[in-house]
């Protein structure tokens, strides 16, 4: 039966019809899968997880929501499959606005976020496909995600932000209120402090998406947090602010008041449009350079205090256990880090020849000063070119031309930030912190190139 003939009964509204279509499509894909193909979950690393089914389900749903009649459901997420014209110069292209007025990417582009196979689906994370990234901006739909209790759908008309505690006048702001206040737009990375956590003791994940995909850069727009704090009037002794989200984790972190008064933003927009739901729609806290977990999404409450609140995410989690059994707490600024995104893990260079090595570097303490690249495992270093603009607490793109002679090589990048801090080797990091600290691994990454062109994640 043709797609638009199904569920044509008038008792189906458009939304129900779409859902019904999605269900049919998901079921079809699942049945196909059960009948055929090997499942890629059988590699033994994460037994029992059937990621494929989830992705198939998600893709089918995304596809059919978008296609609305024209394209086919197997276009990549975020794309519509149009008829490819054999001779585009000899017939008119498709008409303007047949996408409804909100564009989609090419049907030939398919990179997607990858969900790390955590046991819980509600508390999980997805990673940015850095290998296919260009420049420094992460497309909003590819920004990494970390949720502790799923993604809430929040109506901005009923959402508000309450500011109370050690202030002269407790205040409540609607989303409309916040959009009436003087705004700033800033480009900043957010990196989860769990980025690279699989790599402490041995090379574990294969791709740069898996090893480094918990960092993304966007342009964020919103109100400086200092503005609303000044409106409410901070009292003497105010030292910490509790930021709280409106998700089912009611996520909370304590933020030092100095950071709040410095460059923190109450962000309602990302890359020129409203925040994506996964990024905290309608409102998130942005603490430039601080570990990702502190950038509370779905922000509903700020409470000013003279002490930190000692929430679960700043005691049980996001603390770094040292070899002597003590744990570092409030490890906020993300140390400088860089990674080569091309060539990177699980790629295969087709043959010797000219390649441009490229990657990203960033620092939670300011600007990137220099990035050096080694092709011989750290024996010798060459300075890479930094693409302008080089912005504070923002991804910076670096590039270095390279002729691969077909011999074995180990590629590394090493960033120095404007404070003079130099990205350490893993050995240097482990010497100080041991291997049980989980978070904040910012060591130099090694990509091994074999004579057959295969690129693998190795430890030097």
């Amino acid at each position: 039966m043709a797609k638009n003939e199904r569920f044509s009964d008038p008792r189906y509204g458009p939304a129900e019809r779409q859902m019904a279509e999605s269900l049919v499509e998901i079921e079809r894909q699942m049945l196909e899968e059960e009948a055929g193909e090997e499942c890629d979950c059988k590699d033994g690393m994460f037994p029992g997880l059937t990621r494929r089914n989830l992705l198939a389900g998600g893709a089918a749903l995304g596809g059919s929501l978008l296609t609305a009649g024209q394209g086919r459901a197997d276009a990549p997420p975020g794309a519509v499959e149009y008829r490819v014209q054999p001779e585009p110069t000899k017939e008119q292209g498709r008409t303007i606005l047949d996408d409804g007025g909100y564009g989609s990417r090419s049907q030939f582009e398919s990179e997607v976020r990858w969900r790390y196979p955590t046991a819980s689906l509600d508390s999980s994370w997805s990673m940015t496909p850095l290998a296919s990234g260009h420049g420094i901006i992460t497309p909003s739909g590819l920004h990494f995600e970390r949720h502790h209790a799923g993604i809430p759908a929040i109506d901005p008309r009923t959402h508000s932000l309450t500011l109370h505690g050690m202030v002269d006048q407790p205040m409540r702001f609607t989303m409309d209120d916040l959009q009436r206040l003087p705004a700033v737009s800033r480009m900043h990375f957010i990196e989860c402090s769990g980025n690279t956590l699989t790599e402490w003791t041995e090379p574990t994940l294969k791709t740069v998406q898996g090893t480094h995909g918990l960092t993304s850069t966007s342009e964020w727009t919103g109100v400086p947090l200092s503005t609303v704090l000044r409106m409410a009037g901070l009292q003497d002794g105010a030292a910490w602010i509790l930021a709280e989200g409106a998700d089912a984790a009611v996520m909370t972190r304590s933020v030092p008041i100095d950071k709040a008064m410095d460059d923190a933003i109450l962000a309602y927009a990302q890359n020129g449009e409203a925040l994506r739901p996964e990024q905290g729609y309608p409102l998130r806290l942005l603490l430039p350079g601080f570990e990702g977990n502190t950038h509370i999404k779905w922000l509903r409450r700020l409470e000013v205090s003279d002490k930190p609140f000692m929430t679960r995410e700043e005691t049980s989690k996001y603390t770094d256990l040292m070899p002597d059994g003590t744990a570092r707490q409030f490890t906020m600024e993300m140390d400088a880090k860089s990674v080569i995104t091309f060539p990177s893990g699980a790629m295969r260079l087709p043959r010797p020849g000219y390649y441009e090595i490229t990657g990203i570097a960033w620092s939670g303490r300011g600007k990137v000063e220099t990035v050096e690249v080694s092709t011989d495992g750290g024996e010798t270093w060459e300075q890479a070119a930094l693409e302008e603009p080089v912005l504070s607490k923002c991804h910076t793109r670096f590039r270095l031309p390279w002729v691969w002679d077909g011999e074995e090589a180990v590629l590394q990048s090493r960033v120095t930030d404007e404070t003079g801090y130099v990205q350490p080797t893993l050995e240097e990091l482990v010497n100080v912190r041991g291997t049980n600290s989980v978070y904040h691994l910012n060591a130099i990454q090694n990509w091994h190139i074999a004579p057959n062109g295969e690129v693998t994640n190795v430890h030097a």
Binding site: R11, M19, A20, S22, L23, I26, G48, N53, L54, G57, G58, G100, G101, T118, A119, S123, H148, A149, A153, T162, L163, H164, Q169, M171, R172, F173, D176, D177, R180, L181, P182, V228, R230, M231, E244, A249, V250, T252, E303, S305, K307, M310, T311, R312, T315, S316, L321, G325, T326, A327, R328, Q329, F330, T331, D335, T419, P424, V432, R433, N436
Partner: protein, 223 residues
């Protein structure tokens, strides 16, 4: 294999189909998404968003340099109380109520054991942490971080269970139930006597084994 998403979509679709079929001749189903902007007369252009309206009751004495914008409104004590749920190490925020180990044992089996296991050992396939044990392991090669061995303050346990647990019905437990469940967890952890009744006063006196285990961030640390 039915995934969680699949089941949710399925039930949403069934509910939606059902309720819309029922309601179609009685009332409109409230819309939960935005309309595409209206067209303007004559030119047919899409209307811009209307300017956001401040919720302020008064817009006098506006002075942007002094941070007086006539935007926002005072938060009332009731509005604050409705969402001010945090509990701090000094006991600030602990609600009235009380609970015992014996009550907590039952409640734990009912609300928590399915994920954190009857013996409080956690179920890793569900991502649900082990809650007790692990003392003395933090400086070893395989540290076991639990409420008992790692958490510096009991306040965090009250705060977190209240806001985020049980995972399948977060925020559903009342103060008595949380005092009781925590009396059970902390009792099983050997931190409390099994006959301690927890309430705001006794709770704020609890000293956790790893209270001195945390140090401030000393970085940069590699050069």
């Amino acid at each position: 294999m039915f995934t969680r998403e699949f089941c949710i979509i399925l039930s949403a679709a069934l509910v939606a189909g059902h309720s819309s079929a029922q309601q179609s001749d009685t009332e409109e189903v409230p819309r939960t998404s935005a309309e595409v902007p209206e067209r303007l007369p004559e030119t047919g252009e899409r209307a811009p968003e209307s300017p956001p309206q401040s919720s302020a009751q008064t817009i006098e004495n506006i002075d942007a340099d002094a941070f007086v914008f006539g935007v926002g409104q005072p938060a009332t004590p009731e509005e604050i109380a409705a969402i001010d749920i945090d509990v701090m190490p000094d006991g600030t925020g602990l609600p009235e109520g009380s609970g015992t180990f014996a009550e907590g044992e039952q409640l734990y089996q009912e609300y928590c054991a399915a994920c954190h296991a009857e013996d409080l050992g956690g179920i890793s396939d569900l991502g649900a942490a082990r809650l007790i044990g692990g003392r003395g392991t933090l400086d070893s090669d395989s540290p076991v971080k639990t409420v008992e061995s790692y958490w510096p303050y009991a306040s965090t346990l009250f705060d977190y269970v209240h806001r985020a647990m049980p995972m399948d019905a977060p925020g559903s437990l009342d103060a008595d139930e949380i005092y009781a469940i925590n009396a059970y967890i902390l009792g099983r952890a050997g931190i409390l006597d099994e006959d301690t009744e927890l309430n705001a006063e006794t709770y704020s006196e609890i000293v956790m084994p790893n209270v001195d285990g945390f140090v401030p961030d000393p970085r940069p640390d590699t050069q």
